[in-house]
């Protein structure tokens, strides 16, 4: 107990130290002309956040990254659930292809997948004689959803297989059918173990949305690059630090929450 307390204490001291050092650095830098840089960032902050100089309506910027991550996560959840259960299927004809797809997607660089989608998916689709344009945003969603889905599926498979085999045996001995065993006994327990993994995955996906700038959507990185073209070279670093902080501020609380949930799940018995 004493050891844990000192560990937590040490951790807090280190965190406090880092925060103080950051504040000190900003203050010191501000006396040497840094204040001007921050003033430029402050003036451009609405456009970075919303893609719109006046801050409303939302048309891009960091808000678009958030929206993109939510769309990609929703799509990944659908695809990943199908893929995850495919990998748990008894039938080899279902299981083996699912494993192949999952491994392929999970081991491809996200940026390469994004580029691939950009060129594989056509600009226009002709459906029943009607030409439908596919926006870059849709390609970004698909490109990011594919690797996320593969990881999503792995989290499902891992959690389901981590449930002790005795649970299956006991449920079968009580006369439950396989589907009912999944629905009433395995999944309720496995879900608790999946949620922290999914939250970590979502935080990763949010960070990866910065890659979507290659599709040309007006996300925070594209907006930043456009802005920087008009800025003095000396203030560029302040803009990048701001972008970094935006992602950090969004993802860190998620990671903290996920870790806390992991801790609470850890004690689950057999």
């Amino acid at each position: 107990m004493a050891l844990i307390a000192t560990y937590a204490g040490k951790k807090r001291t280190v965190q406090l130290g880092i925060a103080l050092a950051l504040v000190a650095w900003v203050a010191l830098d501000a006396t040497g002309g840094g204040g001007e840089g921050w003033a430029r960032v402050w003036a451009r902050l609405p456009i970075l956040l919303t893609g719109n100089g006046s801050g409303w309506p939302l048309s891009g910027g960091f808000a678009l990254n958030v929206f993109l991550s939510l769309c990609a996560m929703a799509m990944a959840a659908l695809l990943g659930t199908a893929l995850g259960f495919g990998m748990l299927a008894k039938n080899r004809l279902v299981r083996v292809p699912c494993f192949f797809v999952m491994n392929f997607l999970r081991n491809s660089p996200w940026l390469v997948l994004l580029f691939a989608m950009l060129y594989i998916i056509p600009f226009n689709v002709r459906l029943f004689g009607v030409s439908i344009a596919i926006p870059a945003f849709a390609k970004a969603v698909i490109g990011l959803a594919l690797p996320t889905a593969a990881n999503f599926a792995e989290i499902i498979r891992g959690a389901v297989q981590s449930i002790h085999s005795g649970q299956w045996e006991a449920a079968r001995a009580l006369g439950y059918m396989p589907m009912a065993i999944y629905g009433r006994i395995i999944l309720p327990q496995a879900l608790r173990r999946m949620i922290p993994g999914w939250m970590n995955l979502y935080a990763l996906l949010m960070i990866a949305t910065s890659l979507a700038t290659v599709t040309g959507i007006q996300d925070v990185i594209t907006t930043l690059n456009t802005l920087l073209a008009m800025e003095n070279e000396r203030v560029i670093v302040y803009f990048y630090i701001t972008a970094l902080f935006l992602f950090f501020a969004f993802c860190y609380p998620l990671a903290l929450l996920a870790r806390r949930m992991e801790q609470s799940v850890k004690g689950d018995s057999l």
């Binding site: 005795g166 649970q167 006991a170 009580l174 309720p188 018995s269 057999l270």
Partner: protein
């Protein structure tokens, strides 16, 4: 014993896991209301026999009959459902469902599998929890219970299916010595009430007290079987003598 009036009948049952033959021709008949203890060294196939009786493990050859069910002919879980209703099982590792309370664990299968009326099942579940002396723990989750308490909930869960037979698979092996007694007391009551029980156990003293018949297994065969007095006091087979010499 006349074989036809046996409730459970195994005839020349064999089972292999890969190249390893666990059961090399097991024949056993259990009458209604009889308590049979299976003893023997680890790896001799004791637990496998139990899992074959309720169809958890399919057998390679031979036949198994429980009541009117021909277990060796059943292929799907659905076909086995009536069998699972008739034969309950209690496990070494308890295998309670950790996301449900003790009461819910006992109620789940009768309501969800057998489709019994919920209120009737709840009354039955509370009665069974009282029987295993755990009334006050009805709303506790398995994680909050001691090993002995969990095992007694598992016994109540098995009884809630209103089975004709209960299989006990080394139910005290994971418990500490003090809690073993409370579980054995619960089992002894069931045997005294005339429930058909097959027990795999390492508790020789208990086996001697409750069993109508004791079977000694070694290397996938039933080497010797008979009344406890005969097996424990005058074992015929040298392997039985050797085993008992080690454990007693």
């Amino acid at each position: 014993m006349n074989r036809t009036d046996a409730l459970i009948e195994l005839d020349q049952v064999t089972k292999s896991f890969g190249a390893f033959q666990v059961l090399k021709g097991i024949s056993l008949a259990v009458k209604d209301g009889e308590a049979v203890c299976i003893i023997g060294p680890s790896g001799s196939g004791k637990s496998t026999i139990l899992r074959c009786i309720n169809g958890l493990i399919p057998i390679n050859s031979g036949s198994i009959r429980v009541g009117t069910h021909e277990v060796h002919k059943m292929k799907t879980e659905k076909e086995m459902r009536p069998l699972r209703h008739q034969v309950s099982m209690v496990f070494q590792q308890y295998n309670l469902f950790p996301h449900r309370t003790a009461l819910q664990n006992v109620m789940m299968a009768p309501v969800q599998v057998l489709g019994h009326d919920r209120r009737e099942v709840e009354a039955r579940a509370r009665r069974l929890l009282a029987k295993v002396r755990l009334s006050e723990k009805a709303d506790a989750y398995p994680g909050q219970l001691s090993g002995g308490q969990q095992q007694r909930v598992a016994i109540a869960r098995a009884l809630a299916m209103e089975p004709q037979v209960i299989l006990f698979d080394e139910v005290t092996a994971a418990l500490d010595p003090e809690t073993v007694k409370e579980v054995l007391t619960a089992i002894r009551e069931l045997v005294d009430e005339g429930l058909t029980c097959i027990l795999v156990t390492h508790e020789m003293k208990f086996a001697r007290e409750v069993a109508d018949r004791v079977c000694f297994t070694d290397h996938g065969r039933i080497v010797e079987s008979g009344p406890p007095a005969q097996i424990f006091d005058a074992p015929q087979d040298p392997r039985t003598r050797e085993f008992l010499g080690q454990v007693l």
